[in-house]
């Protein structure tokens, strides 16, 4: 396990978000979406090269070193 970093008593997780290193307090994907101020209905979250089903966000923990990408849905074709 990677060492746990703590700031002001809050556990921080070091992730790679859209290619950039970020320290976040979110411990799962639901919290991450909320902290980023995103509308969860408009995006998918890719974690370590796999799109995570939305129904499992809460149960999906964020760990140090996780690579996350926010994928905005594209629906046009015209």
């Amino acid at each position: 396990m990677a060492s746990v970093s703590v700031k002001n008593g809050v556990k921080m997780v070091k992730i790679l978000l859209n290619g950039e290193e970020r320290e976040v307090t979110a411990s799962n994907l639901t919290a991450l979406i909320e902290n980023l101020g995103l509308d969860g209905r408009k995006v998918a979250v890719e974690r370590n090269l796999e799109i995570v089903p939305r129904s499992t966000y809460l149960a999906t923990p964020l760990n140090d070193g996780d690579r996350l990408e926010i994928v905005h849905f594209v629906g046009g074709g015209n």
């Binding site: 408009k42 998918a44 796999e50 129904s55 499992t56 849905f73 594209v74 046009g76 074709g77």
Partner: protein, 245 residues
């Protein structure tokens, strides 16, 4: 069997070990439904007709307009005002008379989708809205039809193949609110060519069995960075379409 004309026409396919005579016969026997004859449907239809797909279903209730021509390369200025499905059939017949076009001048709804799509082996969805995409996914899953789903907006595109689980609804569980449309946010024309051609290639692979398809995967193309990547799609255990009941 292939006629002499077909052997000549498809010579570049026939020498490919992944397609060859057997693959070409599969293409000839295949019936592909195209949902939407727009930016994605236009190039996809051109390449599928040229490739020798035996039957193409052209589904669109719209007419050709001037602003379509920036990317919908199947149509010309003389088609403005004509129903897209009918104009498309004329051009595709000119490109390859061996390809039979079925014109469906309608919008897919919960009432007609199963009947329309039921007549085809593979569905290529290039429509312009999430509501239809979710409907097409439900119907394809129920009818056990492989679904090649391509979408675009601005400079980016997404492509996936769904066959069983995961399905499109595992990726997009509900209609995203205030969804961007190409009309509102724009789309670069050549991107439609890329995504439509990728969707046609994917469809040819689904039909012939060549290589590995994008089943269970999502290809994300970014035209500004000129990068693409493929990510895995996980099945949603609670998916109302393909999840465990």
């Amino acid at each position: 069997m292939l006629t002499d004309d077909e052997i000549d026409r498809y010579a570049r396919h026939l020498v490919l070990k992944e397609i060859g005579g057997q693959g070409q016969m599969k293409l000839k026997a295949a019936k592909v439904a195209l949902v939407g004859m727009g930016g994605i449907g236009s190039p996809a239809a051109l390449y599928l007709a040229a490739a020798g797909v035996g039957t193409l279903g052209l589904i669109d209730d719209d007419e050709v307009s001037l602003s379509n021509l920036q990317r919908q390369v199947l149509f010309g200025s003389k088609d403005i005002g004509a129903p897209k499905a009918e104009a498309a059939a004329v051009h595709l017949d000119n490109l390859n008379p061996h390809c039979q076009c079925r014109i469906h001048r309608l919008r897919l709804t919960a009432d007609n989708a199963a009947e329309v799509l039921g007549g085809y082996d593979v569905v290529l969805d290039g429509c312009d809205n999430f509501e239809t995409r979710l409907l097409v996914n439900r119907v394809c899953h129920a009818l056990k039809k492989p679904l090649v789903s391509a979408a675009l907006g601005r400079f980016s595109g997404q492509l996936a193949t769904f066959d069983g689980s995961p399905c499109y609804q595992c990726l997009v569980p509900e209609i995203p609110p205030d969804a961007e449309t190409c009309e509102r946010v724009g789309v670069v024309g050549a991107l439609a060519g890329i995504m439509g051609s990728l969707a046609a290639l994917e469809t040819i692979k689904v039909i012939t069995g060549a290589g590995e398809t994008l089943r269970g995967k999502l290809l994300i193309f970014d035209g500004l960075d000129m990068t693409s990547r493929i990510v895995k799609l996980a099945a949603d255990p609670t998916c109302p379409v393909c999840g465990v009941k």
